[in-house]
């Protein structure tokens, strides 16, 4: 039924809607949760597998920019915190792969799709972490943006995804605070330290705004995802919420957001901000960001280098099972 993608967006939407069973519609109408064994349209299942897998990939790839600083964190305290945070990111990836598997996906296959470039991960992780302050900027801005995105996903219509998000969001708040703390300390330090913090914010501000995706009038799948209760707010609404939160925090940090057009709009009750260069986002997604190749090469190498561990563990279990059988 959904064997091709050559139709117009309208015709695809029509096909998706006609695939909805009574029971599925009733669950959505009640704002209840769809559970793994429930009947669901094939397009809903595919959309979720893609979104959850890409979310999982982002968590796993997201370990790299910060992992880059573990050995050089400026104190034992910072090092312990950063290791705990990177371990959390691995955990978030695993919660999400497990959620995708409840939809019938296979983790090995999803990893394969990541490694061969058929599935994407968040564009933000294709930027380099040049200084220690970047670790702060990632925690404050990147995790801050992720939280704004993820909190509504705790009410996503698909139960296992929503429950994974509850767990993730609880853990994220420490991530954002540790980033804020790093920047706060640097900002109150020597002029060179403050300049380092400002430089990190300058480089991470715009890419963080791009994390919310293309503007609403250029976001082809949004309407269907909203109708299905996968997405609760539009890209632009979430982006605005993030800007509104962040402006005051920047003031307290004593750092400047690199956008001269940021100003309070009394009428809208929101901060206005400058235009985002989305051509950069699309270039990075296409693979032309500063670190795309490096991130993928590292991920593939880690996976391949770990193959013998996975095989040895299985061989050990097979041997143990054979012995148990022999003894019985």
């Amino acid at each position: 039924m959904y064997g091709n993608d050559f139709g117009t967006p309208e015709s695809q939407q029509q096909a998706a809607v006609t695939g909805e069973s009574e029971s599925f519609r009733a669950v959505l109408a009640d704002d209840a949760r769809v559970e793994p064994r429930d009947e669901m349209p094939e397009a809903y299942r595919k959309t979720l597998i893609r979104q959850i897998a890409q979310h999982a990939h982002s968590e796993i790839i997201g370990m790299q920019p910060e992992g880059n600083w573990i050995s050089r964190a400026p104190s034992l305290r910072r090092k312990a915190i950063l290791m705990a945070k990177v371990q959390d990111e691995a955990g978030h990836g695993l919660y999400l792969y497990a959620a995708a598997e409840t939809l019938g996906a296979d983790r090995a296959d999803l990893l394969d799709q990541l490694h061969s470039g058929r599935q994407k991960y968040s564009s933000i992780f294709n930027y380099p972490t040049l200084t220690w302050a970047d670790v702060g900027a990632i925690g404050w801005l990147v995790d801050g943006a992720a939280i704004v995105n993820q909190v509504p996903l705790c009410r996503c219509s698909y139960g296992p995804y929503a429950r994974a998000m509850v767990r993730v969001c609880k853990e994220e708040s420490f991530h954002q605070r540790q980033g804020f703390e790093i920047l706060h300390h640097l900002s109150q330090g020597t002029p060179a330290q403050k300049a380092m913090a400002q430089d990190a914010v300058n480089r991470y501000w715009w890419p963080s705004l791009m994390m919310f995706g293309p503007p609403d009038d250029d976001s082809p799948n949004s309407a269907q995802s909203m109708a299905w209760g996968i997405k609760r707010f539009s890209n632009d609404d979430l982006r605005q919420r993030f800007v509104d939160m962040t402006v005051l925090q920047a003031e307290i940090l004593g750092l400047t957001l690199p956008d001269p057009e940021i100003s309070w709009n009394e009428e809208r009750g929101h901060y206005d901000f400058g235009d985002i260069d989305f051509t950069e986002l699309f270039e990075v997604i296409k693979g032309h960001g500063p670190c795309n190749e490096q991130r993928m090469a590292h991920r593939v190498k880690a996976h391949e280098d770990g193959a013998w561990v996975r095989e040895a563990a299985m061989a050990h279990e097979a041997k143990r099972a054979a012995r148990a059988e022999g003894a019985a």
Binding site: L94, Y95, D106, R107, D112, R310, A313
Partner: protein
């Protein structure tokens, strides 16, 4: 792709003494012992549990949503199982 993909396990965590184990999620592991260790690292990094059960996902049997109505309907017409079904005369206490 590796042909030695680790099997899937379901993880149940008891958050504190006196409560039952609750399903937390799933994970891959080569055997039960590793599944327990992985479950500890994945689902109890913040002291969320005092006890963990793991069970191979393929060993779990589940009722099907399609049959939900017929499967559970023996309970529908037995309202006399609830204490509120019975009229209690005025003045009766401790019943």
């Amino acid at each position: 792709m590796s042909t030695t993909e680790w099997p899937l396990w379901e993880v149940f965590v008891r958050s504190r003494r006196g409560l039952s184990h609750v399903h937390a999620g799933s994970l891959h592991a080569p055997d039960g012992e590793m599944a327990l260790r992985n479950a500890r690292d994945l689902y109890t990094r913040r002291q969320e549990g005092v006890s963990i059960w793991v069970v191979r996902s393929e060993d779990l049997w589940a009722s099907t949503p399609d049959e939900r109505d017929s499967f559970f309907d023996p309970a529908i017409d037995k309202i006399y199982r609830h204490p509120t079904f019975y009229d209690v005369p005025e003045g009766v206490e401790h019943l």
